[in-house]
Symmetry: D2
Subunit: 295 residues, 4 copies
Amino acid sequence: MSQKSLSDLNVCSKADFVAALANVFEYSPWIAEQAASARPFAGVNALFAAMKAAVDGAGPDHRLALIKAHPDLADKTQRAAGLTAESSAEQNSVGLDRLSDAEYEAFERVNNAYRAKFGFPYIVCVRRYTKDSVLCDFELRLRNDASTEMQASIGEIFRIAALRLDQLVTADDRLSVHGRLSTHVLDTHSGKPAAGISVVLTELSDLGEARVVARAITNSDGRTDQPLIGGRPVPIGRYELMFAVGTYFAGRGVSLSDPPFLDQIPLRFSVSDPEGHLHVPLLVTPWSYTTYRGS
Amino acid sequence: MSQKSLSDLNVCSKADFVAALANVFEYSPWIAEQAASARPFAGVNALFAAMKAAVDGAGPDHRLALIKAHPDLADKTQRAAGLTAESSAEQNSVGLDRLSDAEYEAFERVNNAYRAKFGFPYIVCVRRYTKDSVLCDFELRLRNDASTEMQASIGEIFRIAALRLDQLVTADDRLSVHGRLSTHVLDTHSGKPAAGISVVLTELSDLGEARVVARAITNSDGRTDQPLIGGRPVPIGRYELMFAVGTYFAGRGVSLSDPPFLDQIPLRFSVSDPEGHLHVPLLVTPWSYTTYRGS
Amino acid sequence: MSQKSLSDLNVCSKADFVAALANVFEYSPWIAEQAASARPFAGVNALFAAMKAAVDGAGPDHRLALIKAHPDLADKTQRAAGLTAESSAEQNSVGLDRLSDAEYEAFERVNNAYRAKFGFPYIVCVRRYTKDSVLCDFELRLRNDASTEMQASIGEIFRIAALRLDQLVTADDRLSVHGRLSTHVLDTHSGKPAAGISVVLTELSDLGEARVVARAITNSDGRTDQPLIGGRPVPIGRYELMFAVGTYFAGRGVSLSDPPFLDQIPLRFSVSDPEGHLHVPLLVTPWSYTTYRGS
Amino acid sequence: MSQKSLSDLNVCSKADFVAALANVFEYSPWIAEQAASARPFAGVNALFAAMKAAVDGAGPDHRLALIKAHPDLADKTQRAAGLTAESSAEQNSVGLDRLSDAEYEAFERVNNAYRAKFGFPYIVCVRRYTKDSVLCDFELRLRNDASTEMQASIGEIFRIAALRLDQLVTADDRLSVHGRLSTHVLDTHSGKPAAGISVVLTELSDLGEARVVARAITNSDGRTDQPLIGGRPVPIGRYELMFAVGTYFAGRGVSLSDPPFLDQIPLRFSVSDPEGHLHVPLLVTPWSYTTYRGS
């Protein structure tokens, strides 16, 4: 799926416009068709608003059809039969293509329970979740009534669409679909940023194994050159940041105990706002440290 | 082995004195015999000094015999053949009676290497170590020359003897053989000690599995009723303290994110001074925390 | 006024008992007289309870007379005419014998306003206040109605009496009339208590000049040998603690900027609970520090 | 003195070039004259390098004449007789035009001592200092020998010239003559930046009165819209930042003691690097705070 510029989309034929945006909403080209008539768009936010308006203006049957056009999460039969390329990439991003048997069973159980209760598939914008937090959300939503779930499903479909549109269309403006997770290490023993510290970000899991998400070395400003997570939503979930401060202080010739009081420092925290900027700094000496949710 | 009062030991027959203290130094009653003539003792420190003087005054052959009277660490044959009750309890305290196969092989390897190099067993005061830190010490000491190791062995024998004597003899004074590990949780969100927080202390291991050492709930002063480790040496090694702060703040009705930014807070640190007092406090809000080596 | 033991007071003549305790309540020996009949007392708390019961059981006229038996605060005519030794010592403790003209006028103004409104003097347990916080309390209480102020005056009279009784009578138990203000300096640059740091405690004032309350040097445990304030109530008010950390770190040969980033560190805080234990620690490196209300 | 663009200076007549830059070095147009022949300059750094090269290449007599062309600091006779506009503005920036009698005498004393010892005036780039730190520098430099002071004077003249040139000439590049002092307030009680906090920056003085340098209110990011000091060197000296956190937390409806434990929080620190970026953040709850030299 190649990127299109908004300026091209504003002037191309309606057929090309629809073809380009057909799968922004899963298997539902009618939404692009309706939005086409509102061209030209000042920006991608305006385009997205027009597509959302088409959904909001559709009757209950159309909305239900839109919901039913989505695949089950982690369904092996559907995977074999073929998801859209977009669905497939999204599900893989969170690891749904490589579930353990236990995980697969957990997903199958909630999928079946959800379908049995509501008659349509559980839809969630998986790029905003980890495997663990998807299952957790699943359990919570199973308790809702059907009308609440119709609403919730449309909300998730909009989030999925926004991320697809963001990847597909280039424009002067951007949709607010990306968050950021960053860190900063201050060496309060020397009063300077701590350079050269190894930082490892791990996604924690109750279900399966912890998974390393990012590895970095702090630069001369005590930061990582790139955000630990950036340019995408920061998945809701539990994380651990590990800082190799023992090696750092030993390398600076600082007098330490043997073994050093602090060596690998773990910071555990949860992400709750995938589109926000979460900053988790570390102020550290060989004998103390402080962390906080920064901004 | 029942406790004796120093006042009784000061006045009993020499034979009874020697019988009571025969195994303070492993299979070496001659040390108690020599010390007996210096009675009466003002305190247990004076008694211990007299026993050390007997060792220090002995010739090289006697000192070597004393060293050779000790068993190998974690040696299954010797365990079957019978250790002194004291040796057995000491080795069990650090888990040497329940080694995994991999651990057993690691110990056997260094034991053999040590005996091959020096001609006498590796002696260490195991109550001051964890399985991991014993092996680490073992590797370091293997690099020494024989004379350094003779010295080191006598030093460790003195530490073993001091702990045995401390358990065996009651007196007005105490030997300085006990350390302490404590914590304290301050809730800097409400400005009060944090009561009712679950605290779990785990001994970390590279070789085998982590092992829970202590569990406690903080009291109204934010402390644990008993030290996490106390009344004995705090073994050299790596530890993790885990504080269940998410449950605590949720229970106080504090507004949190979902999931809470902080839930289980791990503090990882090493112990390097088994006879010292190590205080590891936590200052915490739902959004920040600080720890430091306190006193 | 010499100290009496409770055991003596329990067995002496009623006349001696009354003479000893006559001024625990200002110029009101009838309270001691009534309490005398409840002898013997198990402790000083029981004695105090009996005296309070006498006041609580007295009719409105007696209670008003008790209130009126008290002097005005900082009244020069009354000071010349003679206060009880107790009143005089109490007023002097907070500096009411050395008011500036501006302060004197401020006190005269509120005294007159209070008398004009209620017909009896403003009574406060001055040992629990600073000059500034007394005036602040005065202004607040001026807004009350007469019945609330009768109640408040009796409450303050009880506090005054408790402190007088605490100084006068020795017993196995103690009245809870003393608070404590303490500090602790942890050097998180070296991981040890900071010894030899100069600490100065100043009482801040809006009205007049700041006043040094205590000077101390931290000991080897990073604490002061005595509490900064102890053995008495910690007066409600605003304070500043000043820590000479620049000199400390320079003396340890730590590499600093010129001039040092941190030199004299001021911590400003207020006391609100005179009978509580307020602990104000400092965790400090040459480049950072943390303080908190400890316990 | 109106600003010139470097491109104009590169092409104008030599006479105009010299006229424009005559007082970049005090009363010493010969420096601009020599630099003129190296035109055109790629940037203002290249221009400044050419002017410094003219000074460095001049003989000892010329260098001494350059030094002697400078006025005494805070000399009333010279002020009446007329300083260059540049000198006058520089001396006024640090308050040398409004000295108290005691301060004036202190300056006169060191000026005279310096002239008596070296035969030329004490020169310092006053924009990099406060009144107090100038006097402190003065005392230190009085102890030097003449050759060291010749060197030091030329160094200070370069710093003065760089600041004059920076103000006078616009170009694509900038001289590195500006520092920055900034702050940031994180409310770790709510886990958010603290908006609406009043911040006052005061320059502390041993000689005279403290002087308010900047007042600001924190914005929604917990920062001040402008740096507290920026677009100029941050004068070497002692400072106090005062944060009105009591009002802030009271305004958020947080439960506080009466009076609040923390109200006005003072942070005292020194600046040692006028061209650096000094960041002094505050992490604060109603019961605790942390500060550190950030970056």
